[in-house]
């Protein structure tokens, strides 16, 4: 069933993605990521000595600061910071620089739906720009569930408000390697089928007794398919950076 979205996309179409790196001068790594009208600026300051009080000093620590567009930072911003921190912690190689703090600062420039996925993508690109060692990249999408049960990808703000439920899903990006396929699988499944983070809002059924509704699983499937496209885009945009980048000495 075709749903009429306001901007006439099909339910499986993402908004145009734009990614630019090295947008700031003082930051060690920076990137700007926009999906349609949602735009987020991310900056990374590379490993600084010392970790915070409650952090494990034998590992590197990631600190996330989320700056909203207007107003003071409140509980919602703290929640975003926590989600982002945990997601980034799982993709960074934390054992390389123990007892250091890497700061990731997110600035919301405009918000038109799917803000957290946009921020996660921006943070990833900024980490790459700063040269922080990562295991793999993370690709985030937002899947919404309309009242009729159809799954829509990358909803705008208006669509998000009308939906029954939506979920932010973060997948590892697809692996591009010369090694044989089997060696990159984890327990028989390819790495990119894993889910790093999932945040849902609203009611979403997992399985219904007699009728297999499984909305959440549908969302995951669609999200995974979208993430394959997005990780191809991410790979292309990150690759074209010239090797003669000037070093930033702080």
């Amino acid at each position: 069933m075709e749903i009429d979205r306001i901007d006439e996309r099909t339910p499986n179409q993402l908004r145009p993605l734009i990614c630019s790196r090295n947008v700031l001068n003082r930051a060690h790594g920076s990137s700007s990521w926009s999906q349609g009208d949602t735009k987020v600026l991310a900056a990374v300051y590379g490993p600084k000595a010392g970790t915070k009080k409650n952090e494990n000093p034998e590992r590197a620590c990631i600190e996330v600061i989320w700056k909203p567009k207007t107003g003071q930072s409140g509980k919602l911003e703290k929640e975003y910071e926590m989600i982002l921190k945990r997601t980034l912690q799982s993709i960074c190689i934390l054992t390389i620089n123990p007892n250091t703090t890497t700061s990731v600062i997110i600035q919301v420039v405009s918000d038109d739906g799917a803000l957290l996925p946009c921020a996660i993508n921006a943070a990833c690109a900024a980490l790459v720009d700063a040269g922080i060692p990562l295991k793999h990249l993370a690709v985030a999408v937002c899947c919404g569930l309309a009242d009729s049960g159809d799954v829509m990808l990358d909803p705008t703000k208006l669509e998000e408000q009308k939906m029954k439920a939506f979920t932010y899903l973060v997948f590892p990006n697809s692996v591009f390697s010369v090694l044989p396929e089997g060696s990159l699988q984890v327990e028989g499944e390819p790495v990119e089928n894993g889910i790093i983070t999932s945040v849902t809002q609203g009611l979403m059924s997992v399985s219904f007794k007699f009728v297999q509704v499984e909305d959440y699983l549908h969302c995951i499937e669609r999200g995974r398919a979208a993430s394959a496209k997005m990780s191809a885009f991410l790979r292309r945009s990150l690759q074209s950076q010239l090797p003669s980048d000037t070093l930033k000495a702080g």
């Binding site: 145009p16 790196r21 947008v23 700007s32 600026l41 900056a43 600084k48 945009s237």
Partner: protein, 476 residues
Amino acid sequence: MEQRLANTWRLTVNEKKFIETALQSELRIDGRRPFDYRKVAIKFGKDDGSAEVRLGHTHVMAFVTAQLVQPYRDRPNEGSLAIFTEFSPMADPSFEPGRPGESAVELGRVIDRGLRESRAVDTESLCVLSGKLVWAIRVDLHIIDNGGNLVDTANIAALAALLTFRRPECSLGGEDGQEVIVHPPEVREPLPLIIHHLPIAVTFAFFGNENSMVIDPTHHEEAVMGGRMTATLNANGDVCAIQKAGGEGVLQSIIMHCLRFASVKAGDITENIKKAVDSYNIERALKKVKRKSSSVPMDVDGAGSNLKERQDSFVHQKGMSAERLKPIHEESITDQNEDIEGETKLLETRKTDRGNEVEKNFVGVLSCWDPYSKGVDTDFLKASLASRGTSTVSKQSNSRGEKMSSEARLEESSEAAKVEITELAQVSRQTNGEKTLKDAQLAISINFYSQHGTKNALSVCHLAESGISPPPFKHI
């Protein structure tokens, strides 16, 4: 705490000596002379009241919002203006999150004095219901990148945002005329703020030896300077505020000299701001017109003539990769197509519903996309990211960048077409992912879908920017 201090950036003694010695021969480390101001670049966001200003490497964003509140008791007829400054930790490694430091507070106060206490913004017009409801205007300044001279940049950003901000119109209704009805922007056009004059801040830095001074210091010079002074003046020659908080003592004659220079500079910057705001207003008006008159036929001749100009700029593009795509409108330019390099593939665009012409001549790679003309209705943007690899961004495209940013904002109506990036388009056919991707790379398929605002037009040109270090413009 000590470890945090260890992370702050300090200037070495050699660098200090170098900067000071160079100043003695009237040279600055970025090549300017002592009284040269850096170039100011002002950009506006999609919403009313959002501005982004760059002064060299310094980058500040300003957002203006308004709310209906109760007025202060001693001023029942006036609205209020509040300025909130955020020194984001992304601007400088020494900026800590949390409570604003002294320099953040000082910056906020200087801008506040310049704008509010000089009565630049008219607060009496913000009154809706005397004693009960007034508009409270809030300006949020985000310092994104600290390249020195934050005060001036933040001031310009605040002014640009205030000049383009529109507040909803409200009227009194109800039985006793005490009810306030706020009209949404679709029903009634929102109103601009009344701004009497533009106070411009100009900062000077003083150095110990030989009383040398410079205008618009960079952050290296700020680390070396002995004292600083900010003079806020307007184009009429009125001094709105002067801030010289400590630092070295300076002769009176030098202060007067600075003020005179500042008034000249203030005039220049005011011109600059007004020009940027005017062009934004024109685009905004065009956008409104397009939205309302859905069946205005496009001027094909005008389009054709504009195309001719672009032809020259495209000539040098010959020899670029064959993957360049050039979507061209089907009605116009078919005759001019022959001139364009044979390698490029020409695409036909789908017309929008309104039958308005879509006119966008651009080479499908990087930021070489060239908006077409003021009369044009909708833009469509390109597809193939494949050609990003050949990112020899020509200087031409860079120089056109300026034109692009202003023209690109030329908006279309809410029904402007936007090109969907082909790879992203077909997520549903994911199962044959690779194949779709390859098709996309040869892409002839461009999907259009309507959208509000010009954002996409600008944004797609950023597609390619990832490979290019600092492009001349970075749009919001």
